[in-house]
C-alpha cells in the first residue's frame, strides 16, 4: 500500500505550534508541547518505515517518549508552583518577575 504520512506530521506539528503561539493558558501550552512531541515521534517512526529500519527508529522513539514524559512532569510541577504563588494560570502573569 502506497501511503504518505508526512502531511499529517506537518499538520500535527503546525497545530502544536499554533497552540504554543496563540494560547495563554499554561495548560494549553502543555497541550501544544505535547502535540509537537507527538508529531516528532510520528515522523521518527515514519522515517523508520520509509528507510526500512524500524527497530532503530523505535528505540529512538522510546527515548523521545520517555524524555517527553520527564518534560511534562517538570512542567506540571512548575505550573503547580506558579499557581501556588499567583493563583493564576495565565502566562501574562509570569511577566512580573520578582528578583
Amino acid at each position: 500500500m502506497n501511503i504518505n504520512l508526512l502531511p499529517f506530521v506537518f499538520v500535527l506539528f503546525g497545530l502544536g505550534l499554533f497552540c504554543l503561539l496563540t494560547r495563554r493558558s499554561l495548560v494549553k501550552l502543555l497541550i501544544g508541547l505535547e502535540l509537537l512531541g507527538k508529531a516528532t515521534t510520528l515522523a521518527i517512526i515514519w522515517a523508520g518505515v520509509v528507510r526500512g529500519t524500524p527497530a532503530t527508529t523505535q528505540s529512538i522513539a522510546l527515548l523521545v517518549i520517555s524524555i517527553e514524559a520527564v518534560v511534562v512532569a517538570v512542567y506540571l510541577a512548575l505550573v503547580y508552583a506558579f499557581h501556588r504563588h499567583n493563583q493564576s494560570l495565565d502566562t501574562d502573569d509570569m511577566r512580573r518577575l520578582k528578583g
Binding site: 501511503i3 504520512l5 499529517f8 499538520v11 500535527l12 497545530l15 499554533f18 497552540c19 494560547r23 493558558s25 495548560v27 494549553k28 502543555l30 497541550i31 501544544g32 505535547e34 502535540l35 507527538k38 515521534t41 510520528l42 517512526i45 515514519w46 523508520g48 518505515v49 524500524p54 527497530a55 532503530t56 527508529t57 523505535q58 528505540s59 529512538i60 522513539a61 522510546l62 527515548l63 517518549i65 520517555s66 524524555i67 517527553e68 514524559a69 520527564v70 511534562v72 512532569a73 517538570v74 506540571l76 510541577a77 512548575l78 505550573v79 503547580y80 508552583a81 499557581h83 493563583q87 494560570l89
Partner: protein, 180 residues
C-alpha cells in the same frame, strides 16, 4: 485505515486546543495519544505503540489530571457548551466509524509485526546502550527538580535579638514569674 485513524487524531488534537475546559482538553490529548499508539501498531512499530499508550495516554494524563484537580478552584466550573461540543464530536466520530466499517470491512485487518520486540531490544541494548545512561540521569535530575519545586516553604528564622527580647515577657506571662 491509517488515514482514518490519523484524521481522528487530528480531530481530537483540534478539540484539545479549542476546548475551554482544561480537563476535557487533557482527556482529548489522551485520546490523541491512544490514536497515535494505534497508528504505531499499524506502521508495524508495536514497541513504540505500547510505550506511547502507557506513557502518553496513561502516565502523562494521570499527572495532568492530578495537577488540574489540585489547582482548579471551586468557582471555576466546566463550560456546558464545551461538553456539548465534545459529545457531538464523539457522536460524529462514532457515526463515521460505523459507516467506514460498513463500506470497507477489509480495512480493519490487524497488521502486527512479528518478532519486532526482540529486534528493538537488541538495538536498544547493543547499538544504543549509551543513550540509556543519560536517559536515567535525566530522569533522576527531573525527580530532584520536582522535589525542589514542590517543597514547602520553611518557617522564617527569628533573629537572636528578637528572641532574647521576648524571653522576659514569656517568663512574666507564667504565674509566679518563673519558667515552667
Amino acid at each position: 485505515m491509517i488515514y482514518f485513524t490519523l484524521s481522528l487524531l487530528l480531530i481530537f488534537a483540534l478539540l484539545a486546543i479549542f476546548l475551554k475546559d482544561n480537563l476535557l482538553s487533557i482527556l482529548s490529548l489522551a485520546a490523541v495519544s491512544a490514536l497515535l499508539a494505534i497508528v504505531f501498531f499499524q506502521l508495524q512499530a508495536p514497541v513504540a505503540g505500547v510505550f506511547e499508550l502507557s506513557v502518553g495516554a496513561g502516565l502523562i494524563t494521570v499527572l495532568a489530571v492530578l495537577t488540574i484537580s489540585f489547582i482548579q478552584t471551586k468557582h471555576e466550573k466546566a463550560h456546558s457548551g464545551a461538553l456539548l461540543w465534545a459529545l457531538v464530536g464523539l457522536a460524529a466520530v462514532s457515526i463515521l466509524f460505523f459507516l467506514f466499517q460498513l463500506f470497507s470491512p477489509g480495512a480493519f485487518s490487524p497488521t502486527l509485526a512479528e518478532g519486532g520486540w526482540n529486534d528493538v531490544g537488541l538495538v536498544l541494548w547493543n547499538a544504543r546502550a549509551f543513550d540509556l545512561f543519560p536517559q536515567v540521569l535525566i530522569v533522576l535530575a527531573a525527580i530532584l527538580g520536582i522535589l525542589a519545586l514542590l517543597r514547602k516553604k520553611e518557617s522564617v528564622p527569628v533573629p537572636m535579638e528578637v528572641e532574647a527580647a521576648e524571653e522576659p515577657r514569656r517568663g512574666a506571662a507564667v504565674p509566679g514569674g518563673e519558667e515552667p
